[in-house]
Symmetry: C2
Subunit: 436 residues, 2 copies
């Protein structure tokens, strides 16, 4: 019945324990994410952690399903996968109630996701990701809103405009480039689009070499196109391309509402096969850590995988690890996340425990968060605990307090102490809460 | 590359989609749980969703690891399990920082958990569970606090004392009953303790039949003991039992702080093998649905599974499905969970979209949550959407509003409309938020 071998205390490789101080940071990140997207009227949803594997096979992009998922057979023989991303689940949920839902939908979620990766900086096996999606609006107005929401989150985190940058492209431009302008076949087109997606991670000579295999003498046109970041200076064949027209409007409108750290970049692809229109990525502009922080785009065919009428979608995902790294780099994480506990009640000796409980019971009823010490330690040790846990107020209960029902409330941040009754305690703590 | 077969829109068997209206209920449940336990100074933590299977094999109780877990080999050949419960993870986390942590710890978490079960009412494969634990206090004071916290959550949900009941036992009493009072061997003792745990789900004759196989003629003593619910009326051999003494103090102290819907019941066991002292369950007292809602107990040896100095623990877990059923039964779920969105901006035609965006941008900067309509539909259809989503305020932007920068703010709950400028809109909405 019992196993005597001692077990490892480490979390499973690539996952993280969230001790209370880590959880306070995570809760801070999630609170900012939620309030930033709720400013635009987005409402929260959630999907199951497990989905049938067929859902991801359908459209996630082959690489992700084959090498990186946690897939297995359940005890009934069903092939299931721990979600590696949220978009297939949300598309399924929208399809499931296609007829009952009132469009447009503005939905968000902050799920945990799993990928089997070799753990390294910024790459973990379990991470959380804010997912923001707008369903049911085809026009570029929805793309503009989604990019604005992404921008607003960065602002709400305190990031300065010069410290991040949004790069935007449109799959319709890339498709036209490959299929029509360069005129390659479907297979080459797919290979080249994957190659563009990896461009930043490759040596230029390897990139050109691999592209030349598909393109032959057209390689120069291809490289020239990708090196041009001016949407108003494209080859004339692109003049009427829908992606180009939409991007021009997007850049103009965003500039008008004051978002200027955004530009066109033809190498922005986003990995997933399911994007059909605008795609964007948000970059850290720091010279030493020029990295993509997060991104998203338009996927008009995803809900269509299910047997329902088409619904267009546009959205993005923002991971907790990358954004936390970014905020640390720019010193934007709050230094001193206060305890949610308001008051620590110390007890001089066990005979006054009941008095302490009566006081705590009264205060809790008034909305004050109270710990009563249970340890029977010396008062100084009890006070030290309260201090270490950053609880802002302390009272000690002994014979005098039990008799007079008046208490010396210590304010640990101000090193002040003042005698008062229980209702004054409530008042002082409420006032302090408002100021925090 | 693409699969043409249409995929199912249903969630994986035994799991739930949380559409925004479901998520609002879940967020309500979690908010009450969090605030109720934070009243007692508990702080939030989290652990990874996946753990190595060895962690659960060690002490969870055989049945749970063998038949009900989602266990599989990862791509590196490690045996991993999606957590079926939180206690082993939290014990691992405490052991991992045994030396750095300042005890006592008051910790809580609201993780999702997985069990492979045949789905039925109240039994799903994925559920969420509030876990509340107090580590590092051996004395009955900690047991009393944990039971008080459980009681307080029910009160915060609005449950009346007569509609629920706490039943409490102590494993030290059961162990003494089996090992000393009845004097059976280890194997029989284990079988009988499992049998007591299943008693409520069995026919009395089956229970007695199976117990007789282990006990022979002592069966009457056993049945008699289990039928007695008066802690002051136990056989005299139990007079000095530590469990009995602790339970007497617990019942007395809880009565003194006003918790009277609690009583001793010798058949309360809680399934897990790891409990060592007090165990309790909270029951619905409704005659038609007399069911256990949740429970917990003391587990002083769990952290000891790891190679660290002993830490005592006491805690409980409360599932989301059962508590939601209970709250529905007693009509305690809030009827009308308001939208977090404050204002819906309707647009008379696309030429006024920019004006609408400027207004929305200003209001968002003042903390107002604003949706701007993107659909180009008729005004009446736009208003209908706002109404359906229970957004409390509406303004419509057209030529007059664009020129005068004054807006008719409609209050949908009061069917009122009043003209004002943007700062008055902020003021009215802030006032309304406070009143909600």
């Amino acid at each position: 019945m019992e196993e005597k071998k001692k077990i490892s205390v480490e979390p499973y490789r690539g996952t993280r324990d969230f001790y209370p101080e880590d959880m306070a940071v995570r809760n801070y990140l999630f609170a900012i994410m939620s309030s930033a997207v709720e400013r635009y009227g987005y409402v929260q949803y959630d999907a199951p952690l497990l989905e049938e594997t067929a859902l991801y096979k359908a459209k996630s992009g082959e690489e992700i399903v084959n090498d990186q998922t946690y897939s297995f057979l359940d005890r009934g023989g069903r092939d299931v996968t721990i979600r590696p991303e949220m978009t297939p689940s949300v598309a399924r949920m929208v399809a499931r109630r296609r007829k009952e839902l009132t469009f447009p939908l503005r939905w968000y979620s902050i799920p945990n996701l799993f990928r089997y990766e070799r753990p390294q900086r910024g790459r973990v096996r379990e991470h959380w990701q804010l997912n923001v999606d707008l369903f049911g609006v085809d026009s570029v107005g929805a793309d503009i809103e989604i990019v604005s929401v992404a921008h607003n989150i960065m602002r709400e985190f305190g990031a300065k405009e010069e410290n991040f940058q949004i790069k935007v492209n449109d799959r319709r431009i890339t498709n036209f480039l490959l299929d029509t302008y360069l005129g390659v076949d479907k297979e080459s087109s797919y290979k080249l689009s994957k190659l563009i997606d990896r461009k930043l991670k490759m040596k230029e000579e390897d990139f050109v070499g691999q592209a030349r295999e598909e393109l032959g003498e057209k390689i120069n046109l291809f490289v020239e196109f990708l090196n041009n970041a001016d949407i108003n200076n494209l080859p004339e064949e692109f003049a009427e391309n829908e992606g180009v027209l939409a991007l021009k409007k997007l850049l103009k409108d965003l500039n008008e509402i004051g978002i200027s750290n955004i530009s066109y970049d033809p190498i922005i692809m986003r990995g997933f096969d399911y994007y059909t229109g605008m795609v964007f990525e948000l970059f850290d502009t720091g010279p030493e850590n020029n990295r993509a922080l997060f991104g998203g785009g338009r996927y008009d065919d995803l809900v269509n995988l299910f047997d329902v009428e088409k619904v267009s979608g546009v959205g993005f995902g923002m991971g907790d690890v990358t954004i936390k790294d970014y905020l640390e780099t720019y010193d934007l994480l709050p230094k001193d996340l206060k305890s949610n506990t308001d008051l620590y009640v110390c007890v001089y000796s066990s005979e006054y425990k009941k008095e302490a409980d009566i006081l705590a019971h009264y205060l809790r009823g008034k909305g004050v968060n109270v710990v009563v010490d249970l340890t029977d330690r010396k008062i100084s040790a009890q006070i030290k605990t309260a201090d270490k846990e950053k609880i802002p107020f302390i009272v000690c209960v002994g014979e005098e307090e039990a008799t007079k029902r008046r208490y010396k409330l210590k304010d640990l941040s101000k090193h002040e102490e003042r005698e008062m009754d229980q209702d004054e305690i409530v008042e002082v703590i409420r006032k302090n809460k408002k100021e925090r």
